[in-house]
């Protein structure tokens, strides 16, 4: 089922990219004082945009 594979890929890729972005934000001087919710929210949005642009281009 192609839809299932697509959902799996998008989900895992998004989480991986969000984890990388969150890690950077946690150590970068500009963003390290953000609240954890803000860090997670911004990472999630950016990772979804990146994933969507890669998967659906």
């Amino acid at each position: 089922m192609i839809e299932k594979e697509a959902i799996a890929l998008i989900w895992v890729m998004s989480i991986g990219i969000a984890a990388l972005l969150s890690s950077i934000m946690l150590v970068h001087e500009r963003t390290q004082n953000w609240s954890e919710r803000k860090i997670v929210f911004v990472s999630a949005i950016i990772s979804l945009i990146i994933t969507a642009s890669v998967v659906f281009r």
């Binding site: 959902i7 799996a8 989480i15 990388l20 150590v27 954890e36």
Partner: protein
Amino acid sequence: MAWNIGANDTANSIGTSVGSGVISMRGALVRICIFDFLGAVLFGGYVTKTIGKGIVSLDKIPSSDLVVIGALSSLLGAGMWLTLATWRGLPVSTTHSIVGAVLGFGLVAAGWQGIKWSVMKKIVASWFTSPIAGAVVAFLIYTLLVKRFVLKRAKNVKKTERVFGYLQVATAMYVGFAFGSNDVANAVGPIYMILTYSGAEAVNPVGLLALGALGIILGAVTWGYKVIETIGKKVTEITPTRGFAAEFSAASVILVASAVGMPISTTHTIVGAVIGVGFARGIKALNIGMIYRILVSWFVTVPLTAIFSVAIFLLVRAWLGV
């Protein structure tokens, strides 16, 4: 069988989340039930799933009655082992349980030549590749990304753990969704086959999937806590960062393995991943006794389920005079 799958396999998705304290047992079970159900009903895919990974050539079995009895024996045999393993809090592969049970009845009904040994070889190989792949990837992710890049440099370790807690829960939901879509077929696939072989007029596929999904949820809610505690607390100490590394590694390994057609066990992979993050803190961080018991349970899964299945098959066959 669905109840057993829920009771034993739910820990694969939420064991580390509960173990790290990110989410309560009740909260985790509520969330995972939703995603298990959605995965099972939307993408159950049981129609194309062969029983026991197609390890028995069904055309070599003399009659369709024996196939039906065999399917029933396999379900009961696998279910018996899963109940025993769950009672002891041991995470075992439900797929390998069904494979072992089908292998048992297949040897009796179709003989040595009725077994596709090439399929069996791949399954045996996955006993080693699954946990090793999970452990290596989890070790690398935790050591390189989390420990060296984040934990060493981040000013606020508690905030770091909370951030990874959110990511861990998101990963756990994905694993639950994938588990629901893959494992429901282990329960309802044989039922569908029994109904088809026995000449049932109409089989409602969505109804069967929903029934299987409900069985999985019921198993998770009533008895899932035993294996959840093993994976979450008894192998090594889990924190949100370690839990995320373990869950995400397992999810990635399963995704890649599925894409390249490599047989993989979700249970073996997640346990390997948990061992991997524990090993990143040194061998003393691991509960070797618990790991030993888990490994033994993996090796006895196929022979024990085969024995249970054969015993039930012979009893039912004699009783029915087939």
